[in-house]
């Protein structure tokens, strides 16, 4: 296909050609960035939680421990929950993965450090890791002997002796956190410091995601052996077969109400619901971005159809002359296809630069990472395909112009 006649013909329609190029460039730039944003959201939503997602139920009751007999009450609740048929594990949790409310602590490798090495989230509660079903990859899980009562831990902290026997002595943390603190070494037996308090790592789990604050490291999580007896923010975690969850929830609520009919249930949900509500904004935003991409491509395609139709109508006689001089239908078809390809290519080239610029803006204002080079071809291919599809109709109409047009109305 000769390109020279196309270029010289486009030169005579500079404004229209540039409009089309700019439209395609903008579309290309926005589609590149939107697809990147979508993939960012999807990555976030596909995060590995490390827990047995479809087997967990959370119940949070108010006033769990604002009574003098709080400890006995929690024990009685746990015993009642354990008796429910089909329930395999019951635990208490100060916070839940993706629960959106968290307690976090600076972790130090040396008590004299000025700045904490990392900030990690702190899971506490009886039998929590067993109930969540985290997967142990090294060492052992937290055992009964490791647990300390929350009240006595707080008293010990206030007394200020870091080696107080009332403090928890051991911790289980995630592989990610272990790799960050001691790259290439086994974490077992190593010490971390929570403020001045030394704690020994006894176990490592494969994964355990934070409740929120992913920007601090989504898997910097640890579980401390602290028996919760008082703090109102803790929930019960019940593990059961996926199909049994709704029934277990109902029975568990009845059992807890029976122990104390006056208490208020603050939360009753499966862990799947927790995950869904944590990511509902990302879900909505990803959906919106997909809709915007589709709408943009459709609008651009319609614009191409409109302009191509106009050009075909304007050059009807010219086409007739060419046909009369021996050009085949395929020649005419290819002419318009090549013309569109040429415009799209220029548009894409400008679009790439624009896409990069938009990405810089987003990086500055929305703390997004740099747009990977792999996303540029996405916009390019999308635009080439859309362009060719859009121009096909008008180009076929052009190819159908009979040579006899050349002889009319001269």
């Amino acid at each position: 296909m000769e390109i020279r006649p196309i270029v010289s013909s486009l030169r005579r329609h500079k404004i229209t050609a540039w409009l089309l190029i700019i439209e395609m460039a903008l579309t290309c730039a926005i589609v590149c960035n939107a697809v990147f944003l979508i993939s960012q959201r999807l990555d976030r939503m596909n995060i590995v939680s490390g827990v047995v997602e479809h087997e967990l139920v959370e119940i949070k009751v108010a006033d769990v421990g604002l009574h003098p007999d709080a400890k006995a009450r929690v024990e009685a609740d746990l015993a009642a929950l354990r008796r429910i048929a089909g329930v395999t594990q019951v635990g208490v949790a100060s916070q839940l993965p993706l629960g959106n409310s968290s307690s976090n602590n600076g972790i130090m490798l040396d008590p004299k450090q000025k700045m904490a090495t990392i900030n990690a989230t702190m899971y506490q509660g009886q039998n929590l890791l067993q109930a969540l079903g985290t997967q142990l990859v090294a060492g052992r899980n937290l055992g009964d002997g490791d647990y300390r009562d929350f009240d006595s831990v707080m008293k010990a902290a206030a007394d200020g002796d870091p080696n107080d026997a009332r403090m928890p002595k051991v911790v289980v943390l995630t592989q990610t956190m272990a790799d960050r603190l001691w790259p290439g070494q086994s974490a077992l037996g190593k010490q971390i410091y929570l403020g001045p308090v030394p704690i020994t790592v006894v176990g490592v789990v494969a994964h355990l995601v934070r409740p929120n604050n992913f920007s601090l490291g989504s898997e910097y999580s640890m579980a401390l052996p602290v028996r919760l007896t008082g703090e109102g923010d803790s929930s019960y975690v019940i593990r059961t077969a996926p199909s049994e969850r709704q029934r277990a929830l109902k029975v568990a609520l009845a059992a807890l109400k029976k122990l104390d009919p006056k208490r208020v249930v603050l939360q009753k949900r499966t862990w799947d619901e927790i995950r869904e509500s944590y990511f509902q904004n990302d879900h909505a935003m990803a959906g919106l971005l997909v809709a915007v991409c589709v709408a943009l491509l459709v609008v651009t395609a319609l614009g191409i159809v409109g302009l191509a139709s106009f050009w075909v109508a304007q050059r009807r006689r010219q086409i007739g002359v060419r046909r009369a001089l021996g050009a085949t239908r395929a020649d005419i078809l290819h002419y318009f296809q090549t013309e569109n390809f040429l415009l799209a290519t220029i548009g894409i080239a400008i679009g790439m630069v624009l896409a990069f610029g938009i990405n810089l803006f987003l990086m500055k204002h929305y703390e997004l990472p740099r747009l990977p080079v792999a996303y540029f071809p996405v916009g390019a291919v999308a635009l080439w395909v859309i362009g060719q599809l859009a121009v096909l109709g008008p180009a076929l109409r052009a190819a159908a112009v009979p040579p006899v047009v050349a002889t009319r109305s001269v």
Partner: protein, 440 residues
């Protein structure tokens, strides 16, 4: 002349319905998308206290007792600093604020107990923030002073417990205390819930929770501390709190103070007072730093906390980029349309129409498209806002189309289409009549 151009425009639009529909649709979609996001931005970033916000201030001090590397004061205050500043009564109005949850029931109301959010505050809160009352009144400064067991409840709670009837004088059981209702609020939904905005810079842009509903129960600050003893949580602590000690005496921040200062002189006076208070506390050995005080006004404080969720801002950028593409699209199509009529324009020019007349005629046609696009855009905006209201976010129920946005929709649509029409109209008006007539 305008009527004639209008007639010509409608004829021309009818002649190529597909192209017309395409242009109207492009404008409508662009306008719909940008107006939807702009309305959300407008509603979320607006002034929650129009006309008063410039007099409302948020004083901050740094109560930490050891030198800290963090460079800004905490977002809230410890009990002692907040109560000291409040008791000094140096501002025109001042209110303490802290939030907690507690169990709530009412005698003779046969409903299960519920966990209610309670705002502990002082009597100035209601006049300072122009809170509307349906029944009764706020409590008085004397009630604050003598720790009266009184409460003001929201209209939501009044509807739920008392079916919207005048419940002033009735009793609520808050935890284990009897509390008398002295006032019921009219529906009140500030956007954002400005008096409680803290910690926005730690939220990764996910600030939708700042647009929640106000609390259901409002109680005098000091009596609420007695009623809900042990039910308060710190915002953060600079040292580990001692479990046996009340939050009031713990090294924690959990109370906010709002003040109203009606003149510039009073504002600078209050700043000096804050500095001297910090200086005095440093001399007493309670504060480590005296120079770390700050006082934003309400809107600065909201900006500092970046209350508008970053997703909403991103959506607005996206929508306007979308509108830009729709505009380029319309320019292209209009150009095609006008140049296709080159012959017709040539005849008009030959018959004596001036360039300006042709230009005006083309612009009228573009504006007509804008008007139609605006109508479509309005429908799409309503659809978009309806979709947002169905989203499970806190601000969903705040979203509505207000009259100014309604007007702006049309203004934007017509401005956009005129802008799109200028270039093609110019091009069309420069068509040489002789050349066109020759080819007819």
């Amino acid at each position: 002349m305008f009527g004639y151009y209008m007639d010509l425009a409608l004829r021309s639009l009818r002649r190529s319905p597909v192209l017309t529909a395409l242009m109207v649709l492009a404008i409508a979609v662009g306008i719909g998308a940008s107006m939807t996001t702009l309305t959300v931005m407008h509603l979320l970033s607006g002034d929650p206290l129009p006309g008063r916000s410039q007099h409302i201030f948020y004083p901050q001090v740094d109560p930490t007792s050891r030198l800290n590397p963090h460079s800004q004061p905490y977002d809230m205050m410890d009990y002692h600093s907040a109560v000291d500043l409040w008791s000094a009564q140096r501002a025109d109005r001042q209110a303490l604020i802290t939030v907690s949850a507690l169990r709530l029931t009412a005698p003779t109301v046969h409903q299960p107990a519920l966990m209610a959010q309670m705002l502990s505050t002082t009597s100035d809160f209601f006049p300072m923030f122009a809170v509307p009352f349906q029944y009764g009144n706020a409590w008085t400064a004397q009630d604050d002073a003598r720790h009266a067991r009184v409460a003001v409840i929201s209209s939501d709670l009044n509807n739920k417990l008392f079916q919207g009837s005048d419940s002033v004088g009735r009793t609520l059981w808050l935890k284990d205390a009897d509390v008398r209702i002295v006032g019921v609020l009219a529906p009140w939904r500030p956007s954002p819930q400005f008096y409680e905005v803290v910690g926005g810079r730690f939220s990764d842009g996910d600030t939708a929770s700042f647009y929640g509903r106000p609390e259901d129960v409002f109680m005098p600050f000091f009596s609420s501390l007695e009623v809900n003893d042990g039910g308060f949580n710190p915002f953060t602590c600079w040292n580990a709190p001692d479990p046996g000690v009340k939050l009031q005496n713990s090294p924690c921040v959990w109370v906010a103070l709002w003040v109203q200062l009606d003149s510039a002189a009073k504002v600078s006076g209050y700043r000096d007072y804050l500095a001297s208070y910090a200086e005095q506390q440093k001399a007493l050995g309670r504060f480590a730093r005296a120079d770390n005080t700050r006082m934003f006004d309400l809107m600065q404080w909201l900006d500092f906390n970046r209350v508008v969720p970053s997703d909403v801002r991103l959506q607005t950028w996206l929508a306007f980029a979308f509108l830009a593409i729709c505009l380029f699209n319309t320019i292209g199509l209009l150009l095609a349309k006008f140049l296709r009529r080159a012959g017709e324009i040539g005849v008009r020019r030959a018959l004596g129409a001036s360039r300006a007349a042709v230009f005006a005629q083309c612009l009228v046609e573009a504006a007509t498209i804008g008007l139609l696009g605006g109508l479509g855009g309005l429908l799409l905006t309503l659809l978009g806002l309806w979709l947002i209201r169905r989203q499970p976010v806190e601000y969903a129920e705040l979203i509505h189309l207000d009259p100014s946005m309604f007007g702006l929709t049309f203004a934007l649509a017509i401005a956009a289409s005129l802008l799109a029409g200028v270039l093609p109209a110019l091009r069309a008006s420069r068509i040489a009549p002789a050349l066109q007539l020759k080819t007819l």
